[in-house]
């Protein structure tokens, strides 16, 4: 099912990560964290490599990957956009901000634009509730975002 061929070098790096954790099945979540920060996402092919090294079933790995919202099987865009949908942001209008991002980028939540530039996701509370509603692009936090301000944020990265 996996048709993305990752490089031999990446395979070795992933195997090295598994080895760092003594190929222990109980360290699966730590392995997935490290691997995702290396590759950016966790496609089926990578899950197979990890399952083989930790000596567990691919189903087990897949079960864990899909259980936790932090892990993704879809590559993130060059500029990942996350809209905080914590309660504080919600009551201060985060949904309208999200709708505007969806409208302008023309992608649903959890997807990446066809040019690979932007991906859109929701997250639960970054803890910057004083700045609600909050939007994150990569590591940069934008506070007090209004639906009108959305196009300016996107513009900032379009040229980049």
């Amino acid at each position: 099912m996996a048709n993305i061929k990752i490089s031999e070098q990446k395979v070795q790096q992933i195997e090295a990560i598994c080895k760092d954790f003594n190929n222990e099945k109980g360290e699966l979540i730590n392995v997935l964290h490290k691997t995702q920060s290396l590759v950016g996402y966790l496609p089926a092919e990578i899950q197979e490599i990890i399952a083989k090294n930790l000596n567990c079933s691919v189903a087990h790995v897949y079960g864990v990957v899909t259980f936790y919202s932090y892990f993704t099987m879809i590559p993130k865009g060059e500029f990942p956009i996350s809209i905080c949908m914590g309660t504080a942001c919600y009551v201060r209008g985060a949904e309208k901000v999200l709708d505007e991002f969806k409208r302008i980028l023309n992608v649903p939540v959890g997807q990446t634009t066809p040019d690979g530039k932007f991906s859109l996701s929701c997250l639960r509370c970054v803890g910057a509730c004083g700045l609600a509603p909050v939007v994150m692009v990569g590591d940069k936090v934008y506070g007090r975002v209004s639906p009108d301000g959305v196009k300016d944020i996107i513009k900032e990265y379009k040229q980049a």
Binding site: G26, I29, L32, S69, T87, C125, C129, A132
Partner: protein, 597 residues
């Protein structure tokens, strides 16, 4: 050690960090070096001051000056005026919204006056990356006292006497939990710190770890001594990079100082701490789910008993406490159980940290004695409702809690009074809502959350919450019937009674409490097909006012579905059957002729 004459404390919490507090810190440092003051004035980054609404914050000691909304560009002026000439920079002071006067000393701010900071005692006061500052504030004195002067049983007795209850939501007596775990027989036991703060809108655990990580480390070691564990694990959200980093630094420093490792304080006691990362699952706040996640599995809860105190992490007796609970422990040992028990209400001792957010003037992190009223919290500390609007409800306890209203404002809040009022303490999230919020939508918002976060193991939670959510969607779309209301209530009780873990047992609370307190809003949606707060899109009607419309055609040209008809310079009309309620006409009209009915 250098004796500084003046200290500039710059908030390095996440909220202030998002407003360039790091650049501000750098600028202040550079400025000080430039003026040759580095031996007289110290600039440090601290944890959160709690007053996130007006960040970034700088506090100047010893005169207690509190600067708000400071920009990196203000550094030069602060150094030139305040530090060198001793004159406060008035334009950066906090303005009392009532008297319109500048408040120079944080002690006189309404936000701080009614607070009592125990768990947050060091947040915004010390440099969290410097163990010596923690030690200077009686840090690690409690563990020293426990190891050298007290037996584990005596420490447990002290904890029981203090009346401390778990701050993560359950409210289980901490001392009792320790005692139970201490009595389990095993070759290895574990102390687990639950730092998987999943409640949206609550950020106290993160702030404690960012602002005072050593207090958690010290408390975990004390717990280890009491229950007979030599290993501790902090289970923390991967989404909290700053907290993880500060915790790691603190653990390293503690090891270097011999406060973690073997033979602590020359005794036989050894303790070490490991970090495990969560990966974003709300259900992992539940002890058994958290333990499964630590073991590398899906975070699904299991039936208790066996309790983790008997069989937990890797099948060994495990004591799980929350970050805020741990942060209270060293103070209790240092100042005594009697002192702690003298604060708070009859059955809930000490203080509680609340994350105050939503439609409130002073968003931030606050800590008040148990038994403070909601009114004091919202109107005194929180400074009232934003934009002079009317208070409508406050949601406590996050997705598991309920909405409280005007009539609950004078309840002295603690674990039991909140439960009695149909809500709960939870981890301490407190979201304030005003007249513009639709309570049916709020209930739906929480159910959206629960549906997504339900682990799927038991049917009532997995299927039941989904059905609740669908009914709420139907009501918000104006298609609800009176029968749906009965179904909502009945199903809610079934889910509460039959779910496996705390998530499902509390998930219908937002529905039940809004139905109880805002029944008229449900009726308005169902019978009148109206959303009184104008939030539910499907129930809105955009109408053009005859008086104000000048016939400029701006609305008609911008309508994406051509639902607006009318001649140039003539009155325009919106065809309600075609209108998709996008609001483009309202936005484009320059004459205030479009309004929502």
């Amino acid at each position: 050690m250098t004796q500084y004459k003046m200290h500039l404390l710059v908030c390095g919490g996440t909220s202030c960090g998002a407003s360039e507090s790091e650049q501000l810190f750098q600028n202040l440092k550079n400025e000080i070096i430039e003026k040759g003051l580095e031996n007289e004035v110290q600039v440090i980054t601290t944890g959160c001051f709690g007053f996130c609404e007006k960040g970034p914050i700088i506090k100047v000691l010893p005169d207690n000056t509190f600067y708000t909304q400071v920009k990196p560009g203000d550094a030069t002026e602060i150094i030139a005026e305040h530090v060198i000439k001793g004159r406060r920079v008035n334009r950066l002071l906090y303005i009392n919204p009532e008297t319109k006067e500048a408040v120079s000393d944080s002690k006189h701010m309404g936000f701080y006056r009614k607070q009592l900071r125990i768990a947050l005692r060091n947040c915004g006061f010390i440099d969290p990356e410097n163990i010596e500052e923690y030690i200077a504030r009686d840090g690690y004195a409690a563990i020293a006292k426990c190891l050298t002067e007290m037996t584990p049983a005596q420490v447990i007795e002290e904890m029981k006497k203090s009346g401390l209850r778990g701050r993560g939501g359950g409210g289980f007596p901490t001392g009792l939990k320790w005692e139970i775990t201490s009595k389990s027989q095993a070759d290895q036991k574990y102390v687990v710190c639950n730092a998987d703060e999943g409640d949206p809108g609550a950020f106290m655990d993160r702030s404690i770890l960012e602002g005072d990580p050593h207090s958690v480390i010290e408390a975990m070691a004390i717990c280890g001594y009491c229950i007979g564990a030599t290993k501790g694990v902090v289970y923390i959200r991967a989404e909290y990079p700053l907290a993880v980093e500060r915790l790691k630094i603190a653990m390293k420093q503690a090891s270097e100082y011999g406060l973690l490792g073997t033979h602590i304080f020359g005794t036989e006691f050894s303790f070490e701490i490991d970090i495990r990362y969560g990966a974003g699952a709300f259900v992992c706040g539940e002890e058994t789910a958290l333990i499964h996640s630590m073991e590398g599995f899906r975070g699904e809860p299991t039936i208790k008993p066996p309790f983790p105190s008997v069989s937990g992490y890797l099948g060994k007796p495990t004591n799980v406490n929350n970050v805020e609970t741990f942060a209270n422990v060293p103070v209790i040992i240092n100042k005594g159980a009697d002192w702690f028990a003298s604060i708070g209400s009859e059955k809930s001792k000490g203080t509680k940290v609340f994350a105050l957010a939503g439609k409130i003037n002073n968003v931030g992190l606050i800590e008040v004695p148990m038994g403070t009223t909601l009114r004091d919290i919202i109107f005194e500390i929180g400074g009232g409702i934003k934009d002079g609007k009317k208070f409508k409800a406050v949601q406590t306890g996050g997705p598991s809690g309920g909405c409280l209203t005007e009539k609950h404002l004078d309840i002295a809040i603690d674990f039991d009074s909140l439960t009695a009022a149909g809500s709960m303490m939870g981890s301490g999230g407190m979201i304030v809502m005003d007249e513009d919020d639709c309570m049916v939508s709020i209930a739906k918002f929480y159910l959206d959350f629960t549906v997504e976060e339900s682990c799927g193991k038991c049917a009532p939670c997995r299927i039941g919450n989904k059905r609740l959510n669908e009914m709420l969607e139907k009501i918000c779309a104006g298609k609800g019937t009176m029968e749906d209301l009965d179904l909502l209530r009945n199903l809610s009780y079934v889910i509460k009674d039959t779910s496996l873990c705390g998530l499902g047992q509390t998930s219908p609370n937002p529905v039940l409490s809004t139905m109880e307190n805002f029944y008229h809003e449900y009726l308005a949606h169902i019978v009148d097909k109206k959303c009184p707060s104008g939030q539910c899109k499907a129930l809105l009607q955009y109408v053009i006012d005859e008086e104000n419309c000048v016939g400029c055609t701006a609305c008609a040209r911008n309508c994406p579905v051509n639902a607006i008809a009318g001649e140039r310079k003539g009155m325009h009309i919106i065809d309600q059957s075609t209108c998709i309620k996008c609001g483009a006409c309202l936005e484009k009209c320059k004459f205030n002729a479009v309004f929502i009915k």
